[in-house]
C-alpha cells in the first residue's frame, strides 16, 4: 500500500518492483473506469437534471419539477412507443431464439461444409444494420417488390400498413440476428461431451429425449446469455424502424421517440424525461434477467 503514491508514475525499468500489484491493478483499471463513468454514468445524472426543467423549443423557461414526466406518461405517443418496442422485442427475440437454435443443431450435426457455413453465418452479423434495413426496405417495397414476386402476391403493401410494417421490421431483424444467436448456441453445444449422447443412446433414449434431457439443460447458460443480450439489444431498437418506416404505422420505438425530441422537435427537458424513462424500463428488465442468470454469470469471468 505504501507504493500507492507512485502509482501514477510509469514503472521504472529494471528488476526492482516499483509498484505493488494492487496499486498497479488500480492504475490499469482507472482509464477504463474514468471513460465509462464520464461518458455513460455522468450523462444519466445530467439527463435527470435536464428533465426537471421546462423548455419551449430549445429555450429554458424554468424549473418544472416532474412536469415533463407527467406530460410523457400521459401522452398516448409514449405508450404507443412502449407497446411497439415490446411487440418488437418479444416477437424478434423469440423467433431468433427458435431459428438460431435450429441452425445451431443442424450445424453441429453436419461435417462437410461446416467451415463455409460458420463463415457465412457471420455475414448478416457484420453488415451494418442500416444496410440490412435498406436491403429489406427494397425487398418488401411495392416497387420493385421482390418479396411479393417471390410469394406470388400482387402489389401487397407490406411497409404501408400497421401490423405488416412491424412484421417486416421483425423479419429484417430476425434475418440479421438469428445467425448470430446460432453462433452463440453452437459454441454452447460444442461444450457438451459426445459421451453423454453416446451413453444416453445406449440406454435407449430417443432423439427427442436426448434433446430435452441433455442438450437443453446443458445449453441453459448459453441460452440465457444469448437471450439477455438479445432482449436488451431489441429494447433499444432504432436503425431498422427508422430506415424502413420512419416510425410510421405503429413502429415508433422508444429510441426513435427520444431522438425525435432531440433532432426534429428539440426539447431537452421532455427528451431527457423520455430517455430517463426508457433507461428505467431497460434497467428493470436487465436486472430481472441478471437475477435469473444468477451471480455465476458475473463470477465465471473471475474464477478462470
Amino acid at each position: 500500500m505504501s507504493a500507492t503514491t507512485v502509482a501514477e508514475r510509469a514503472p521504472t525499468v529494471g528488476g526492482k518492483k516499483s509498484l505493488s500489484d494492487s496499486a498497479l491493478a488500480r492504475f490499469f483499471l482507472s482509464p477504463s473506469v474514468l471513460v465509462m463513468a464520464l461518458v455513460a454514468a455522468f450523462p444519466i445524472f445530467y439527463a435527470i437534471i435536464l428533465s426537471l426543467y421546462v423548455y419551449q423549443g430549445r429555450l429554458r423557461e424554468g424549473f418544472g419539477g416532474l412536469e415533463n414526466y407527467t406530460e410523457a406518461l400521459s401522452s398516448s405517443r409514449f405508450w404507443d412507443a412502449v407497446q411497439a418496442t415490446f411487440i418488437f422485442t418479444v416477437s424478434s427475440v423469440s423467433a431468433e431464439f427458435l431459428i438460431g437454435l435450429g441452425f445451431a443443431l443442424i450445424m453441429r450435426q453436419v461435417f462437410i461444409g461446416r467451415g463455409i457455413t460458420r463463415a457465412s453465418i457471420l455475414v448478416p452479423w457484420v453488415i451494418p444494420t442500416v444496410i440490412a434495413a435498406q436491403l429489406w426496405y427494397f425487398m418488401f417495397s411495392v416497387t420493385p417488390g421482390f418479396v411479393n414476386y417471390a410469394l406470388g402476391l400482387d402489389r401487397f403493401n407490406w411497409l404501408g400498413q400497421p401490423g405488416w410494417a412491424m412484421f417486416s421490421i421483425v423479419f429484417a431483424d430476425v434475418w440479421k440476428t438469428a445467425p448470430f444467436v446460432a453462433l452463440l448456441l453452437l459454441a454452447g453445444l460444442q461444450t457438451i461431451p459426445d459421451e453423454m449422447y453416446e451413453s444416453a443412446r445406449v440406454d435407449g433414449a430417443t432423439t427427442w429425449q436426448r434433446f430435452w434431457y441433455i442438450t437443453m439443460p446443458l445449453l441453459k447458460p448459453a441460452i440465457l446469455v444469448a437471450l439477455l443480450f438479445r432482449t436488451i439489444d431489441a429494447l433499444r431498437v432504432f436503425d431498422l424502424p427508422q430506415v424502413m418506416t420512419g416510425g410510421s404505422f405503429n413502429t415508433e420505438s422508444l429510441s426513435i421517440l427520444v431522438q425525435r425530441y432531440v433532432v426534429q422537435t428539440p426539447n431537452p427537458g421532455l427528451g431527457s424525461a423520455l430517455s430517463t424513462l426508457t433507461f428505467i424500463i431497460v434497467l428493470i428488465i436487465g436486472v430481472l434477467f441478471v437475477r435469473a442468470l444468477g451471480r455465476d454469470f458475473v463470477l465465471n469471468v473471475e474464477d478462470e
Binding site: A47, P144, V301
Partner: protein, 285 residues
C-alpha cells in the same frame, strides 16, 4: 435409427440428404440477400425499380459512379477514422483493465465486473439528450471526438469481458517464472501475457471496429449532415429521394455493396478469430 450427434455413426442416406438440404437453406438465408443487393445495384436507370426479376437488364456500373459523386468517399474516410480511433483507444485501455481483473489482486472485483456489465446493458438512447446538450456546449457536434468518445465508452465493457476471458486462459506459470526472475508485474504483462493474448486482442479489436463502423443512433444525432464527420451508415440512410416512395434504389444498393464487400471478405478471412471473440464475450458487438 442411429442419429449423429457429433460422433460418426452410420446414418440413413435420407437423413443425410435432409441435413444437407437444411445446411443449404442456412447458406441461402445468409447469402441470398447479398446476391440480390449486388444484382440490383448493377441495374441501370429505372430497371431496378420496374422489375423484381433478377435477370432484367440493362446492367452497368453507373450507380457506383454516382455514389462517389455524392461524396461517399468522405463518408468512408470519416467512418474509417472514427472506427479506427475507437478501436485503438478502446483496446489500449481495455486490455490494461482486463489484465487487472484477470490477474492482479483487487478488492471489489465482483462489484467492478457488475458495474461493467451494467454499462454493457446500457441503452445508448439514454445518452442522446444529455450528450447532445454537452456536445453542443463543448462544440463536439459534427466532429470525430463527438463520436469516438461515446463509442469507446460503449465498447469497453465488451472488450474487457473478452480480454479477461483470454487472459485467464493463459497459463500462469510463464508469468510467475518471469516474476521470479525479477520482472515487475507490468513487465510480465507487457512482455509475456500481451503477446500470448494477441489473438484475443485481435478478435476484440475486430468486434469493436465493427460496432463503431455500424453505429447509427448516435452518429445520426451528433453528426447528421456535415460531410466533415458524417459516417457511412448515416449517409446510406440519408440517400433519400424527393418523395419517400422514390428512394434512389440504384445509388443506395451500390453504396451498400461498396461497404459490404470488403466487410464480407474480411469476415471470411478472419472467421475463426471473430467467432472466438464473440463466443468468449457472448455479447453482441
Amino acid at each position: 435409427m442411429a442419429t449423429n450427434d457429433g460422433v460418426v455413426v452410420q446414418t440413413s442416406p435420407l437423413r443425410k440428404v435432409g441435413r444437407y438440404a437444411l445446411l443449404a437453406f442456412i447458406l441461402l438465408w445468409c447469402l441470398f440477400p447479398f446476391m440480390w443487393l449486388i444484382d440490383t445495384s448493377l441495374k441501370l436507370g429505372d430497371a431496378a425499380l420496374n422489375s423484381p426479376s433478377l435477370s432484367q437488364g440493362p446492367f452497368g456500373l453507373d450507380n457506383y459512379r454516382s455514389v462517389f459523386d455524392q461524396g461517399f468517399g468522405y463518408n468512408l474516410r470519416n467512418s474509417a477514422i472514427v472506427a479506427g480511433t475507437t478501436t485503438i483507444v478502446c483496446i489500449t485501455i481495455g486490455s490494461l483493465a482486463a489484465y487487472a481483473l484477470a490477474r492482479l489482486p483487487l478488492k471489489g472485483k465482483v462489484l467492478i465486473l457488475s458495474a461493467i456489465l451494467a454499462v454493457a446493458l446500457f441503452p445508448s438512447v439514454a445518452l442522446v439528450p444529455p450528450l447532445y446538450e454537452l456536445w453542443l456546449n463543448l462544440g463536439l457536434l459534427n466532429t470525430y471526438p463527438g463520436l469516438y468518445i461515446p463509442y469507446t465508452a460503449f465498447t469497453l465493457p465488451l472488450t474487457i469481458f473478452i480480454l479477461t476471458t483470454f487472459y485467464a486462459s493463459i497459463p500462469k506459470d510463464l508469468e510467475e517464472q518471469a516474476r521470479v526472475d525479477g520482472a515487475t508485474a507490468f513487465q510480465a504483462f507487457y512482455k509475456i501475457v500481451l503477446p500470448l493474448a494477441a489473438p484475443g486482442v485481435f478478435a476484440a479489436a475486430i468486434i469493436v471496429f465493427v460496432y463503431a463502423w455500424n453505429e447509427f443512433l448516435l452518429s445520426s444525432t451528433f453528426a447528421p449532415r456535415d460531410l466533415a464527420a458524417q459516417t457511412v451508415p448515416v449517409a446510406i440512410a440519408a440517400f433519400t429521394g424527393s418523395v419517400e416512395f422514390q428512394r434512389p434504389i440504384g445509388t443506395v444498393t451500390a453504396a451498400c455493396v461498396i461497404v459490404t464487400i470488403p466487410m464480407i471478405i474480411g469476415t471470411l478471412i478472419l472467421q475463426r478469430r471473430i467467432t472466438a471473440g464473440l463466443t468468449a464475450g457472448a455479447v453482441k458487438g
